[in-house]
């Protein structure tokens, strides 16, 4: 029975991942990924990690992929065009390459499993309290750090993705591209607001009005600072 479950969901995972990777349309890819995640979650349960499976469904399938879909819709990403020339060859190369890579990985990782068979699943391993215990005792520091990481990611994503302020628009094209200038944040009084992702087609309309407000902004705060192309999070920007 267990074997059957495994085989079904393993093949499902593999197949849907192939669809993710191969399909031209990102929407279909994303939806396939949902299927892959679900299959993998089942396999988690089979391996005695129900909590992780739950987390997988909640976070991965529930939040991350929704975000993906959101962005795909926003950016109106269409189907990917075919590659001009060399389609067949690239496919063959990719397949062969993947095979070789898989073999290499298998050879690398298999020995760590050891020769012995698998012991029965212990209550210990499965229990949530046990997991929580270990997580908050032994791995407390990484836990906190990951929390900080998430904070940083939130801030970074917010700043990177927000609409450019009037100063940045006035300061030039490059400055507008997600500039993290503190002066830019201070000046122009929150033009466009952080994090609001109105449809980008409005951007052009907003730009002209922003330019007219640029003069006021110039007087108000620091001029646009030509930002170096931003890496992700810039701590120190206003939360």
């Amino acid at each position: 029975m267990e074997t059957a479950v495994f085989l079904v969901f393993a093949l499902l995972a593999l197949g849907s991942s192939l669809v993710v990777v191969a399909h031209k349309s990102p929407i279909y890819s994303t939806l396939s990924l949902v299927l892959t995640l679900f299959s993998v979650a089942v396999l988690f349960v089979l391996l005695g990690a129900p909590f992780i499976a739950t987390l997988q469904l909640l976070i991965y399938a529930g939040a991350i992929l929704v975000l993906f879909l959101f962005v795909i819709m926003l950016l109106n990403v269409g189907r990917e065009e075919g590659i001009p020339g060399g389609h067949r060859a690239q496919l063959v190369a990719a397949v062969l390459g993947a095979l070789a890579f898989a073999v290499a990985l298998w050879l690398l990782l298999r020995p760590a499993l050891g020769a012995a068979g698998t012991a029965p699943l212990t209550e210990e391993l499965v229990s949530l309290s046990g997991l929580a215990q270990e997580l908050f005792a032994e791995y407390l520091l990484p836990f906190e750090i990951v929390g900080l990481l998430l904070l940083v990611a939130v801030i970074g994503a917010t700043v990177v993705a927000r609409r450019p302020t009037a100063d940045e628009l006035a300061g030039g094209v490059l400055a507008a591209g997600g500039a993290a200038g503190i002066g830019g944040v201070a000046g122009a009084g929150g033009m466009g607001g952080p994090g609001s992702l109105s449809a980008l087609d409005e951007l052009e309309a907003a730009e002209s009005t922003a330019a007219s407000w640029a003069a006021d902004a110039d007087r108000a705060g620091g001029g646009a600072r030509p930002a170096s192309f931003p890496g992700g999070a810039e701590p120190g920007a206003r939360p």
């Binding site: 990777v21 068979g117 012991a119 591209g177």
Partner: protein
């Protein structure tokens, strides 16, 4: 929960190495996709596949070696994957604003 109780104290009929094999296969598929696709979002999705493959491997090891370390690592990987997805997509948005495309072949300002 009952299925869990059912599973406990039973040996695994499926060898753990099969899970590992699947994980390896998924990872290879994801890598091929990440290196091959032209669409930025698609590359991201391929990377998520790779991450999942890694998670699967971790849990498999955890089961085999009877330690919770693997599961905890998956926990963290999940969190990091979320963060990474958020920031990466934000970057894509920013790039899209600039270049009106996410065809990575066209995003090459850093060319020599």
């Amino acid at each position: 929960m009952s299925s869990t109780i059912h599973l406990v104290n039973e040996s695994l009929t499926v060898p753990v190495s099969w899970y590992l094999l699947l994980s390896v296969a998924l990872f290879a598929v994801g890598t091929a996709g990440a290196l091959t696709r032209r669409n930025g979002i698609s590359i991201f999705l391929s990377i998520e596949v790779m991450l999942n493959a890694a998670n699967l491997a971790l849990v498999a090891y955890s089961r085999q070696l009877d330690q919770r370390t693997g599961q905890i690592l998956v926990f963290f990987v999940l969190a990091v994957a979320a963060a990474e997805a958020a920031v990466g997509l934000a970057l894509f948005i920013a790039v899209y604003r600039q270049r009106r495309t996410i065809d990575i072949n066209r995003i090459n300002l850093m060319r020599h």
